[in-house]
Point group: C2
Chain length 240, copies 2
């Protein structure tokens, strides 16, 4: 019997990481999901991550406490306002205040640690450079440099064990392509959460970068967003 391949998947509970998880599953990996409570305003994404990990039959799901607040410097963890209503060209040009310094580096480092303990060969991360917010730690040259570093950092890489691969299946897909791929693999996007600045009930604001990119993606994919439907029906209840 062939040995089961294991993968660690960075799972925020958002659209991209959920699709990356679906892709890992479709490739036959045993799934180990890794989420972080990092002082983010939108902790309801962790509830999404839990639902999604369960729905995909993950073998393990770790939620690690990582307090980035003492480090500061981001609208997602600090008292800095989440930017709203930015244009697409603005998103491409300027790294926004929602950038969390070295976040993907920190998250991937934990993934490397867990992968080493599990004997997992692959780490999936749903980064994307097409419809994204302009974060430096989403770019392919960062991912390649990280993979190289990770294989020098670990016992596994050193003692001729499993070489780690950092897998970025979404990196050059548009948001619409990601959504179509996910739907093809049976993802229920109603389980996911994207907004950086939701209401206390978890309703998306509809105007942060993440909401705007998500909206455009569903529009371009030509399918309705199950969350949008929920949000509108919530709004109508409130308004009438």
């Amino acid at each position: 019997m062939p040995k089961i391949k294991k993968a660690v998947i960075l799972l925020s509970g958002g659209l991209d990481s959920t699709t990356a998880l679906a892709i890992a599953k479709s490739e036959g990996y045993e799934l180990y999901c890794l989420s972080f409570r990092y002082g983010q305003r939108h902790t309801c994404e962790l509830a999404s991550a839990r639902r999604v990990a369960e729905a995909f039959g993950a073998k393990g799901h770790l939620v690690i406490e990582v307090d980035l607040r003492p480090v500061g410097g981001s609208a997602l963890t600090d008292n800095i306002e989440v930017p709203k209503g930015r244009s697409e060209s603005d998103m491409q040009k300027n790294i926004p205040a929602t950038y969390v310094p070295a976040r993907n580096t920190i998250f991937l480092s934990y993934a490397v640690a867990w992968a080493e303990v599990l004997g997992a060969s692959d780490i999936f991360i749903g980064v994307n450079v097409i419809d994204y917010s302009g974060y430096p730690d989403c770019r392919p040259q960062f991912i390649e440099a990280f993979e190289r570093m990770a294989n020098l950092a670990t016992k596994a890489g050193t003692e001729g064990g499993v070489q780690l691969k950092i897998r970025t299946p979404l990196i050059s897909m548009t948001k619409a392509e990601i959504i179509k791929k996910g739907l093809e693999l049976g993802v229920d996007y109603g389980m996911t959460h994207s907004c950086y600045d939701p209401s206390p009930q978890g309703t998306p604001c509809g105007r942060c970068d993440s909401c705007l990119i998500r909206k455009k993606g569903f529009a371009e994919a030509g399918v309705p967003d199950p969350l949008e439907i929920n949000a509108s029906s919530l709004n109508s209840t409130t308004l009438f």
Copy 2:
């Protein structure tokens, strides 16, 4: 007036990181010390880190909670026994159970985040490949790969800001040379803590890799270890 250079120093409170801090100070940096509570058995090293940071007039000292226990896989954080009485050749050949998967990668990633927020150009880490425990993430090729990755990960590196340097002043020094250098710079090694498996009162075990390497270092430097003196006097109190 020239702009003050800032450095982030990874400070465990041990002999090496304390010496690295002394070197950063001697080079005129404003000092920002970074320590971690990572579920290690030997948390008394954090008390040492606090004393040392204060003694060197650090401008800032962050102690970040990083729970590596859910990840597992190490004698320092898990229910695995700390190896004792290993020979020097054994230390060189085999990565021991005290290895914490990807620890330096995780710690350096936090340092990168803080350096970015502070606008610091240098990160000091007291790694060493001469008298060490055989950890893969202490080697120069790891450090070089990490520095390259870090400069691709950050806003600073991307937008033509401060390029980050990972400084490893001790990397090719023997433990005796490190001790001599530190004494020359006024380090009081009585403030430091090295043992992986101290008594509840903080007395070094004297037999783990870290104690053995420290002992050998002081012997070769031809100076007494202030901690050894404390330990012996404690022992005499206990025994007689």
